[in-house]
């Protein structure tokens, strides 16, 4: 019973409490770039979740095999292999998604969420919890992106999943689907997440803890490496 509950926790923590996008502020680039529409957000979320699941499972399986000193290059190679597979799958099964995600599909390789989970979780835990951790984080990532995509698409274009939903007298706020709108909506969502958490983490910012390479980075003590004070 106890074990079951903790496994469930591995899954759910990524969705709300440790949401990778809104709480840990990882994977910012794709979150801002592909959330111009709800369907893009889902496409990106599913692709990244698939890569995350595969990489977490394999890194967890290989955690006793990969030497500690070369673990980061080893993880990156593994992740890149899975990204290539997912890239080919998306190209074959959903060419329209491939077109709208463009460069951000291969860029899943450098998504901090995936390397971050490999370094922080999968390299220290058995396969089953690692897989659940990946699924939870993936669902959390997708949900946050979907929320942002829906807000931006609804207010910025008046549509949802490409269908007109806003009444005809509504003038879309086009700036919201432009790059500037991405920063704006993301800022407000994080402010909302802060507010809902009761301001426990006041002045949340990028820090060494959020950086996936924190463990490997020997220079964090030096001034300004991953942003000080």
């Amino acid at each position: 019973m106890e074990k079951k509950r903790s496994l469930l926790h591995e899954f759910t923590k990524g969705i709300v409490k440790e949401n990778p996008v809104l709480c840990l502020v990882l994977g910012t680039c794709p979150t801002l770039a592909v959330t111009t529409s709800a369907s893009n957000a889902i496409g990106m979320g599913v692709a990244a979740t698939l890569v995350l699941l595969c990489s977490n499972v394999f890194i967890s399986l290989l955690r006793r095999v990969i030497p500690d000193t070369v673990r980061i290059p080893a993880y990156i190679t593994l992740i890149a292999a899975f990204v290539t597979v997912v890239q080919m799958l998306v190209k074959a099964l959903a060419p329209s998604i491939d077109e709208s995600l463009g460069i951000f599909l291969p860029l899943i390789v450098v998504n901090c969420i995936i390397l971050g989970r490999a370094e922080m979780y999968a390299s220290k835990n058995p396969v089953l919890p690692s897989a659940l951790d990946a699924l939870g984080m993936g669902v959390g990532f997708t949900a946050a992106m979907l929320l942002m995509g829906m807000i931006r698409e609804l207010l910025g274009a008046g549509t949802l999943f490409g269908m007109q939903v806003m009444p005809s007298f509504y003038t879309p706020i086009t700036v919201l689907i432009l790059p500037a709108g991405g920063f704006f909506v993301f800022g407000l969502l994080i402010a909302l997440a802060n507010k809902l958490q009761g301001g426990k983490s006041k002045g949340r910012d990028f820090s060494c803890e959020a950086c996936p390479l924190a463990g490997a980075c020997t220079k964090k003590e030096t001034e300004g490496a991953c942003h000080d004070d």
Binding site: A33, I76, A80, T84, Q87, P106, C226
Partner: protein, 206 residues
């Protein structure tokens, strides 16, 4: 004609195709190290150097090795490994031969491997050259340099904005990252004003 098209590529890379503000590449360091002017410049210079070296290696590698061997699908995995190796190499060379520069840039180098702007430029210049036959290796290099300069411009501008933010009285929930993102939105909005500028300056047709 050649010079004109190179200039167009260079200016477009800085203003209209600014990686940070219009393409959302390299956002993490943009938000992370833009707090102080000095670190913002250091990071941007390091990114520019790595971008140019990475493009100089991956562009011929792709066109002369991967494509003839029918291995183009290995692009992602090969490029990320090349970039990781290059970053290590640059670090070792700097440490050994130019210690002063190493002390200035060295701390940013480990973070650059996972900077998506670097992987981004190596892939995007290949997409451009596939779409347009007149886009040569030289254009790719100028594009990489322009992108680096654009990164520097965005970082420096934003460092200035953030220094002003430090002394501003911000509502509690907006403190820290949210207000930073909202200011970034306004900076990005101002870059929209450059749309069409490059075509206008150089008389179209580029």
């Amino acid at each position: 004609m050649m010079i004109k098209s190179l200039l167009a590529v260079f200016l477009a890379a800085i203003l209209t195709e600014n990686y940070v503000l219009t393409k959302f590449l390299g956002i993490c360091p943009f938000l992370g190290v833009s707090k102080k002017f000095g670190t913002a410049v250091g990071m941007s210079v390091a990114v520019t150097v790595v971008m140019m070296i990475a493009t100089a290696v991956t562009f011929p590698l792709y066109t002369l090795v991967l494509v003839p061997l029918d291995l183009a699908y290995l692009q992602t995995i090969v490029f990320i490994l090349v970039i990781a190796a290059l970053v290590q190499l640059v670090e070792i060379v700097l440490k050994r031969y130019i210690p002063a520069l190493y002390r200035a840039l060295g701390i940013y180098l480990p973070l650059i491997t996972t900077n998506c702007a670097v992987l981004g430029i190596t892939i995007l210049v290949l997409e451009k050259s596939a779409a347009d036959a007149s886009y040569t290796f030289l254009h790719a290099m100028v594009n990489a340099f322009g992108t680096g300069v654009g990164y520097l411009v965005a970082m420096v501008l934003f460092a200035g904005v953030r220094e002003r933010l430090e002394s501003a009285d911000v509502p509690r929930s907006l403190k820290g990252l949210p207000i930073t993102l909202i200011s970034a939105a306004i900076v990005a909005l101002s870059f929209l004003g450059f749309g069409g500028l490059v075509e206008g300056l150089l008389g179209g047709g580029v």
